[in-house]
């Protein structure tokens, strides 16, 4: 390419970037002025609700051995979809499932690929600036998964060691912050998803996998030898999970809240908990045997949508 050619190409590149940027502005403006386009209207018009789900967040949202999406949070999202259908008086509503990761869930909500994401998403203030949250449906603390006999018992044992987290999770944020502030020298590996993170742990690339305890128990359940692993450490933060949706869509949020709160009121949520945390679950039919946390039963009794941090 000749020299002016290069310069033209550079110019063109800039033009394209600007075009992309203005396209975004252009499409955003009329959307706001020409009447609010709410999620409910979109669902009514298209007859489809698109649910974001996780591939590997056992027992919340994951693929079972038939490659079907199952889990505690998935059941909640289906219940919300049914509530939406009732609200809109639709005879049929198609559920479309899109797999998301910790890193893609928020962009996909913002760009309208998915309407609702119920998985292991922490309801916190930082995220609350970008997306809206339903009523909380789970509480968990962040802890460490490690091989038995690894000598790891708590955060301080990890100084100078390799620790894996799922990229984009609150665990990553907390660990990076504490590591920098307390100068622990922990080397952090950011894996694509919980599944990849556990692979890194299993293959010895990391000494521990930091995540919400419930997710860690889920990972143990599919290990080759579940007895080799255990969850350790004092919970470093408390995480409340809620379904994420587009921000500022009060009508849609009201429907989602209604569905979740009804489940909590009439005991369905308690039964759902027993189904996924105290009974054999696919794919291996392992029972996670996680007793109901008093804090969680308090949440079921007094539903709220408040972020903890």
């Amino acid at each position: 390419m000749s020299r002016p050619g290069v310069r033209l190409a550079l110019l063109g590149a800039l033009v394209l970037v600007i075009a992309v940027a203005t396209l975004r502005f252009g499409s955003a403006k009329p959307d706001d002025s020409a009447g609010r386009r709410t999620t409910l209207e979109k669902i009514q018009r298209s007859g489809v609700i698109t649910l974001g789900h996780r591939e590997n967040s056992i027992p919340f949202s994951y693929f079972d051995d038939q490659q079907q999406v199952v889990g505690y949070a998935h059941d909640i999202s289906v219940a919300i979809a049914r509530e939406v259908q009732r609200e809109l008086g639709m005879s049929g509503l198609t559920l479309k499932l899109v797999p998301v990761t910790s890193q893609t869930r928020i962009p996909l909500l913002i760009n309208n690929t998915i309407d609702l994401e119920c998985g292991t998403t922490t309801n916190n203030q930082v995220r609350g600036r970008q997306v809206g949250f339903s009523t909380n449906y789970f509480i968990s603390g962040t802890r460490f998964l490690t091989r038995k006999g690894s000598g790891i018992h708590d955060l301080d044992d990890l100084a100078g060691r390799n620790v894996v987290v799922s990229a984009g999770t609150t665990s990553e944020i907390v660990l990076r912050r504490i590591n920098a502030q307390r100068k622990l020298g922990i080397r952090i590996i950011a894996a694509r998803d919980h599944g990849d993170a556990f692979v890194a742990l299993e293959f010895g690339k990391a000494m521990a996998f930091m995540s919400d305890a419930a997710i860690l128990y889920g990972e143990i359940s599919k290990a080759k030898r579940p007895d080799d692993w255990h969850v350790v450490g004092t919970p470093m933060t408390e995480e409340v999970y809620a379904c994420a949706m587009r921000k500022g869509d009060a009508e849609f949020k009201a429907v989602a809240d209604r569905a979740i709160q009804r489940m909590m009121r009439d005991g369905d949520m308690r039964r759902l908990y027993a189904r996924w945390f105290q009974a054999p679950i696919p794919p291996r039919e392992v029972n996670l045997q996680v007793p109901l946390d008093p804090k969680l039963s308090a949440l079921f009794a007094h539903p709220n949508d408040l972020p903890l941090q």
Partner: protein, 226 residues
């Protein structure tokens, strides 16, 4: 690390793996077809005497040829649903698979543009003059005289590139689309048999690509011989 390999998970996984392979092949077909069509358009634009048109095509090609496919996939993953909605004015639920198709078409078109442009330039100039003198329009000259010859010289390159594209389809893994490798990863993680599944997937890719490359080689040699 216990290294005893256990292949018993494979039979049960086969239907799902096959489904993944179906997606990989569909992605290859779409990127080839779409890439060639869009690539031809871009090549003609680059050869246009209009500076604006040709520099737009040049900019397109140099941007797409300098970013990683993974980044292009992420871009489309974000932008495609928005663009579709902006164009149609209606919310259209569109899955990540379609974003993947579009990402590959846009990305490979930049490569094919260069191949096709070189192919067109390889046809001697006096052929254009001769065709025009015979009364063909410029479009007809391109369609009936130049392109058929250009395609013939480009064929080996296109076939070789399709083998590379087929391997690159595995990159949709990053947006959680279940292509062949994605399916293998998913089953491997679920059943804790990742090594077996990856070795199997590697072997399948090798057999397919090796056979294809031998086919391309044989074909190219035959062409040269005749």
């Amino acid at each position: 690390m216990n290294l005893s390999l256990d292949w018993s998970v494979l039979p049960a996984a086969l239907p799902f793996l096959l489904q993944g392979m179906g997606f990989s092949i569909a992605l290859l077909a779409v990127s080839l077809l779409g890439g060639l069509v869009l690539g031809t358009g871009l090549a003609l634009m680059r050869l246009s005497s209009n500076v604006l048109v040709s520099s737009f095509a040049a900019a397109y090609v140099s941007i797409f040829r300098s970013i990683p496919l993974v980044l292009a996939i992420f871009w489309c993953y974000l932008l495609v649903p928005m663009v579709v909605e902006a164009v149609r004015g209606v919310h259209t639920p569109i899955g990540p698979m379609y974003s993947a198709f579009i990402a590959y078409v846009l990305f490979e078109a930049a490569y094919f543009c260069e191949v096709i442009r070189a192919g067109i330039l390889s046809v001697r100039r006096d052929q254009t003059s001769a065709s025009l003198a015979l009364g063909l329009t410029r479009a007809q000259t391109m369609r009936y005289v130049i392109l058929p010859q250009a395609v013939r010289t480009m064929m080996p390159l296109i076939l070789t590139k399709s083998i590379i594209i087929f391997q690159d389809t595995s990159l949709v893994y990053v947006i959680s689309v279940s292509d062949f490798l994605g399916a293998a990863t998913r089953i491997g993680q679920r059943d804790s048999r990742l090594i077996e599944l990856y070795l199997f997937a590697g072997a399948v890719y090798f057999i397919l690509c090796f056979a294809a490359s031998k086919f391309v080689e044989a074909r190219t040699h035959r062409k040269v011989a005749t």
